[in-house]
Amino acid sequence: MSDPAPRTWRTRSRELWLRAKARWSFLSRSLLFRVVVLTLTLSTLVMLVLGLILQQQITTGLLQSKIDAATAEIDSARMTVENSLSGADSDPTSLREQLRLALTEIGRADGSSGVQGSAAGVFDPVIVPSRIGSDSADLSVDQPLGDVPAELRARIGQGQMSYQYTTIRRDGESLPALVVGSPARTATDSFEVYLIFPLAGEQGTVQVVQRTLLLGGVALVLALTLISALVAAQVVRPVQRAAGSARKLAAGDLAERMPVTGPIELATLATSFNAMAEAIRVQIRQLEEFGKLQRRFTSDVSHELRTPLTTVRMAADVLHAGRDEFPAHLSRATELLVDELDRFEILLGDLLEISRHDAGMAELSAEPIDIRSTITACVAAAGPLAQTSGVPIITTLPDVPVIAEIDSRRVDRILRNLINNAIDHAEGHAVEIELAADPDVLAITVTDHGVGLRPGEAGLVFNRFWRADPSRQRQTGGTGLGLAISLEDARLHGGWLQASGSPGRGSRFRLTLPRRRGGLIAGSPLPLRTGADALETGPMPKLDHAGHVVVPEGADWLEDVDSGLDPTTVPSAGAGQRAAEAVVASVDAADPALAIPGQSAKPSSGQPPAAPAATATPATSSATDGSVPAIGGGPRESAR
């Protein structure tokens, strides 16, 4: 066994996983759940897409207007540069001065006191005289030339007006910026003019837009989901109500109806449901009536038939008792009368029994009983018949009590039927009865090695009035209903009754019952088909006319049977001897119920000394006088 602690953790986490899976599979099939999830997913998707597009549009729009304004601004800056620097000379100092003037001029485009109020917003101007080159350090003019991207300068250098986005640093922060540039020509010089527009404002605007979109989107998604859930619930609720009504109807409340209210579709549903419920109720009432009639019929017939039959029976018996005084033909007639009355009586009983099963009137009066005693009693009762037929009966029972909740009357009837059938069809070979049990299920098999069953007959054999071979002489005078009734009795217990066999080799009937009333059985402790038939490999034991077991000549039958066989089916002679000793030692404890009256052990020649059977311990038994001693006995495990 593995260490309990990690096992618990493992099993627990597995349990949680299984439970979560179960909960999920339940939820995932809920209409409401699906609607909500679908709405949530789709609206989120749509919101995302829409939001992105919106944001894109707004950003583009913002930037476009900036660019337009910036382009206008650069144009006026260019003009300013061309105007104010038209007479610039190459003296660096004066050039510097002129540049500074021009920068200020540009900065004050609208002519006011220095506040840039243009539509393009705040900007930083840069003027680069192309004569000087790109190094403004020479000029010592305070302007953010470094912020102008080299690409842009290259394009301006080619004579185009252009713009580019870049990142600049202001106040220790990185900002996006728009740099727009244009070449400027004076009569003597060419310049490059740049305007750097920090986009902080635009960025702020975009962020505000983003946040608004996000919040709005989430709110919208939630609202949509809620609405969809409400709408779905509107539809689902009546369906749930209908399901609830149906459940109540199924549980037996035949008066349950749905209220016909609400929207047309649901009203229609309710009306149809009510019509169905009414039809079911009527039908069930009818069936109950029929059942009642059937029951009354059965019990009335039972009574009405039985009383005159009793009188007839008594009269016949009186005649029968005095038949010695009759002339031969009357005497014979009386015998036939009594015999046929016997048959009639049995048939009537069987018919009534089967009709009770059909009417559902059969009741199970189950009690906890050690089924071994039922088997033993039944085997004992079959003793005379077995002896007359010359059929040994071998019973194998476990050592331990096998207690089950059974109706002993019915089980006895089943066993009696099976055993009598087996004896009838055994053709002199032994009949084996075995009991095995596990904690929930017990099984009893009755096996014969005689006529057997043809293929397909194993199912037919339980049909009413079916006979394998109608011409067979039936010593037990069966009615043809025996197995049908036995099957119903087995079913009443919640058990199985099955048959198997092959022609000429014998057949086996297996009764499987749950040990607790109402238990379900999924398997049986004994096999239905006989495997290596234990006694087939050796010469078969037979009884002679005096009831002694005859050992086939030349062989110690026990040894022959012992050799090379499955040791669990036939215990050795040694086991038999031990059983005998156990019997002697435990006479006081022996259950008197199992004392088979009238039996004595008659070991025949050639048998090993282990041959008791008079007072049987629970482990040994055989039913017929002088029949096989201690073969089926010996200590055994109760379940294979």
Binding site: T310, R313, C378
Partner: protein, 228 residues
Amino acid sequence: MVGMRARVLVVDDDPALAEMLTIVLRGEGFEPAVVRDGSRALDVFREVHPDLVLLDLMLPGMSGLDVCKQIRAESGIPIIMLTAKTDTVDVVLGLESGADDYVMKPFKPKELTARIRARLRRADVGTAERLRVADVEIDVPGHQVTRGGEPISLTPLEFDLLVALARKPRQVFTREVLLEQVWGYRHAADTRLVNVHVQRLRSKIERDPEHPEVVVTVRGVGYRAGVS
């Protein structure tokens, strides 16, 4: 065995059956008397003083169960029910109303007479025998059962059942064995007989029938006498 002819009262409304029963019983050495109406049964019973009553359950006038209760209230003589119904409920009802045994129609006359004789047979008691079970004293030859000096009245069958258990106090008796020893039936008759009679016995003899001390159930096997 009875020396003189035992009187058997037949309570049955079917004329043919009653007549046939009379013929059979007389042939077997009994002295039958017949009453066909349940409501008159008790009066006839008092008149005739039978040794045993054969009672059909389906009767006009008063129902067989009521007749049974009435007779049982007055006497402990054996009552055998004749019934066409095999329902457990009906059989148990009959046994609880006071019947000792039941025979199902149709029956073989030999079967009926065997049961009648079994009921009429008295337990063969030789020596004076006193038994004790729990706090109950049994005087076997005197057919007396007392608890603390107070007598408890039991029918002969209930008495026989108690004695059978009390004689072997450590032994567990299966229902089949009890049927054989107390009722005298060899082969598996209906074990419901035993169940119902144990209940009846318990209701009379136990201080608390729900927790029996005198007749103890051994689950799955049968019954045993309680410890004293």
